[in-house]
């Protein structure tokens, strides 16, 4: 028989309840505490997610009192997030974001200049010209095409050799590329075509390309992965993803179009308003040390900011760097908004999927 709870227990009971609620709330709010007082560094990045745990582990091993918190998304999204937070930036450091985006943000006074230790060891092209620099490059990535040989054989698709080849009618519906609004790779493609072919020809080229496009993807990684799965046989991608996908066993060839490859740098810059300047600088210093350059940046990437550390990447030719176009970053950064608006106007509206 349940005995009625005596009244005097109420106080004790409430205390237990209150403690329970407090505990639950603390969990819910993610109250800090537990381990020692580590400095939490909020890092905005667009680097591929599969690489991030490696960077985090390596840095935290080196500098145990700093803990990295990543905010990762694709280039376009991180960029517009940063823009939206302009009045009250959240990030401490932006790290591994396309240099074109960083330059645009730097123009708006987003960052503070800092010359990390060992800056002089870097290639002069991989840093802001100002001294000390607003931003420092880490490595570069370049456009590449993933070409599914199995599907191509089935559908009798010839292997393309140039960007122009992709506009041939035979490739109708067999092509994907990342949407430049969300993907940094997408933007470097578009800006490189506009530089290679000139503005007018460039847009005309993209109009023709659009006719063949199955769809535009949100992320820069998806076209190559879809090519790997045979879903759409040709994906306009970038070198790292192409090489890695091939290495994972997918039946693809990495095609480097002969007109030249668009490219962009992954770079970092310290946010002007950070309250954790010291930690941010430590992270910046660490980011250009030789061991990081040599051991971490090179995984799949052929173009590294520090001359001489690059290693050949399986699936990419040794003279890969010769294929890069002469990229006018300042132009690409300054015209970013205009180009993206134009792109949206031309290709976002045509919404029916091609097949």
């Amino acid at each position: 028989m349940p005995e009625p709870m005596p009244e005097m227990n109420l106080g004790a009971r409430l205390k237990v309840l209150a403690a329970g609620a407090a505990l639950a709330l603390a969990t819910a709010f993610g109250a800090p505490g537990g381990a020692a007082a580590k400095t939490e560094l909020l890092v905005y990045t667009a680097i591929e997610a599969d690489e991030l745990p490696g960077f985090k582990a390596a840095f935290e091993k080196e500098v145990p009192d700093i803990e990295i918190k990543w905010v990762r998304d694709s280039t376009g999204i991180v960029t517009s997030k940063l823009l939206a937070e302009k009045a009250n930036p959240q990030a401490d450091i932006v790290w591994g974001l396309a240099a074109t985006s960083l330059m645009m943000l730097a123009d708006q006074g987003y960052f503070q200049a800092y010359a990390p230790k060992g800056l002089d060891k870097l290639d002069a092209g991989f840093r802001d010209k100002a001294n000390p620099p607003m931003w420092v490059g880490q490595r570069a990535w370049a456009a590449a095409i993933c070409f599914n040989t199995v599907e191509a054989a089935k559908k009798n698709l010839p292997k393309p050799e140039s960007w122009k080849d992709l506009t041939k009618a035979v490739y109708k519906g067999a092509l994907t590329m990342p949407n430049p609004n969300s993907s940094g790779t997408g933007y470097l493609d578009v800006s490189s075509w506009l530089q290679l072919f000139g503005e007018q020809e460039g847009w005309k080229y993209m109009d023709q390309l659009h006719e063949n496009m199955a769809w535009y993807t949100h992320s820069g990684s998806k076209p190559c992965r879809q090519a790997a799965a045979g879903e759409v046989p040709i994906g306009i991608a970038f070198d790292y993803r192409a090489a890695k996908t091939k290495a994972d066993g997918a039946p693809i060839d990495v095609v480097l179009p002969k007109e030249g490859l668009g490219w962009d740098m992954e770079a970092f810059a310290i946010v002007k308003t950070t309250k954790k300047l010291e930690a941010a600088r430590k992270f910046a210093d660490w980011s250009i040390t030789q061991s990081v350059m040599e051991n971490l940046y090179t995984k799949g990437y052929a173009l590294i900011a520090m001359p001489g550390v690059s290693k050949p990447v399986a699936g990419l030719p040794a003279d890969f760097s010769k294929l890069l176009i002469k990229n006018d970053f300042a132009w690409a950064a300054k015209n970013r908004d205009r180009i993206l608006d134009e792109w949206r106007k031309r290709y976002d509206a045509k919404s029916e999927p091609k097949s």
Partner: protein, 362 residues
């Protein structure tokens, strides 16, 4: 019995109580005194305000204006928890997840300091309502009558000064109801707790109450003992609502005389009423008696219908001198055999003047 001398010092006093829900006036200026140990029934059709009045007394729905005193204390504005009442609801509202013992002991936790005294009190109450051996059961395992008694025991557990019963028997079948009427009344007398019961069942009110408060449309129509209410209804509503009644439109035809079509009757109650006044004459079916030739207010009728009711017989009679009217009369079976009632036959009956009630025509 409770009325009489005790009534001078009312236990519960209701003074000019009004209750409105928006524009609807559920209680209209209700004033009533209830004596200590008295058993009072609020009787009336549904929607008459009897339950509203009960809930005002309990403090569940506090009146808009007016005051209520209990044992000399003004409780008008107090919440139920600050009053001294026990309530039994129509649904009983037994806690389904608690055993009978826990239900009955529910209100005791704060009062009885020790577990033993609480347990003793619950056992006492269960014995009082004859449920001693059902303590461990859950309400759903009990019959309706047993549930009703658990609810009663629970309401009585805290020894309230006033017991309020809201249609406590209406959910039960006829036999159980009849039995429980007696039980309930006996228990109330034994404990001497002042009790107010709401009911729409006149038989229940007539058999159980010390006094009946007949209510209609939010107002009190009549207050009186069952005999007073039945024997001398003070309004046409009461006359109609309590028991069966013949209503005859008539007009005053002289001093103490009234005429129904060609039939003139002696009506002592009419003394002083102006000639020609339109009135309603009322007479209960059992007050229409087979008449000897010389009897007053005797007249000939034709028997137009007969209904057999078991011990009684109900006849519809059409007076010869008022052929558009008909009367319902009731005779005992023996009586009807003696006078030989047959369909289509004639019968001379009388309506004794002192059994005739007069109401103004509405």
């Amino acid at each position: 019995m409770a009325h009489g001398a005790d009534r001078k010092k009312p236990y519960l006093r209701i003074e000019g109580v009004n209750k409105s829900f928006g524009s609807f006036h559920a209680l209209k200026n209700v004033t009533l005194d209830i004596a200590e140990r008295e058993f009072v029934c609020f009787l009336g059709p549904s929607g008459c305000g009897k339950t509203t009045l009960l809930r005002a007394i309990a403090g569940l729905d506090i009146q808009t204006t007016g005051r209520i005193f209990q044992a000399g204390r003004d409780v008008s504005a107090l919440p139920p928890s600050a009053r001294d009442v026990g309530i039994v609801f129509q649904s009983y509202a037994l806690f389904p997840n608690l055993s009978v013992i826990d239900n009955v002991g529910y209100g005791l936790a704060r009062r009885s300091t020790t577990r033993e005294s609480r347990r003793g009190r619950v056992a006492e109450l269960l014995a009082l309502v004859n449920l001693g051996e059902h303590g461990a059961k859950y309400p759903a395992q009990l019959s309706g009558g047993q549930q009703q008694r658990v609810a009663l025991a629970r309401a009585l557990a805290t020894s309230p000064g006033l017991l309020l019963l809201d249609e406590p028997l209406s959910a039960l079948d006829a036999k159980v109801r009849q039995y429980l009427r007696g039980e309930l009344r006996a228990l109330q007398r034994k404990l001497g707790v002042t009790t107010v019961m709401v009911t729409h069942d006149q038989e229940e009110a007539l058999t159980m109450a010390d006094r009946i408060v007949v209510m209609n449309a939010g107002a009190i129509e009549q207050v009186g003992t069952p005999a007073e209410i039945y024997g001398t209804p003070s309004t046409a509503f009461v006359a109609d609502f309590i028991g069966a009644m013949n209503f005859l439109p008539a007009s005053v035809s002289g001093a103490g005389r009234a005429r129904i079509e060609g039939l003139e009757l002696h009506v002592p109650a009419l003394n002083g009423t102006v000639m020609g006044t339109e009135i309603t004459l009322c007479c209960r079916p059992e007050d229409i008696v087979p008449a000897d030739d010389g009897a007053a207010n005797a007249f000939d009728t034709k028997i137009s219908a007969i209904e057999f009711l078991g011990p009684n017989l109900r006849a519809t009679l059409v007076p010869k001198d008022a052929a558009s009217r008909s009367l319902t009369a009731e005779f005992s079976a023996t009586q009807s055999r003696r006078i030989g009632i047959a369909l289509g036959g004639t019968l001379r009956v009388a309506m004794p003047g002192d059994r005739l009630h007069v109401f103004a025509r509405r």
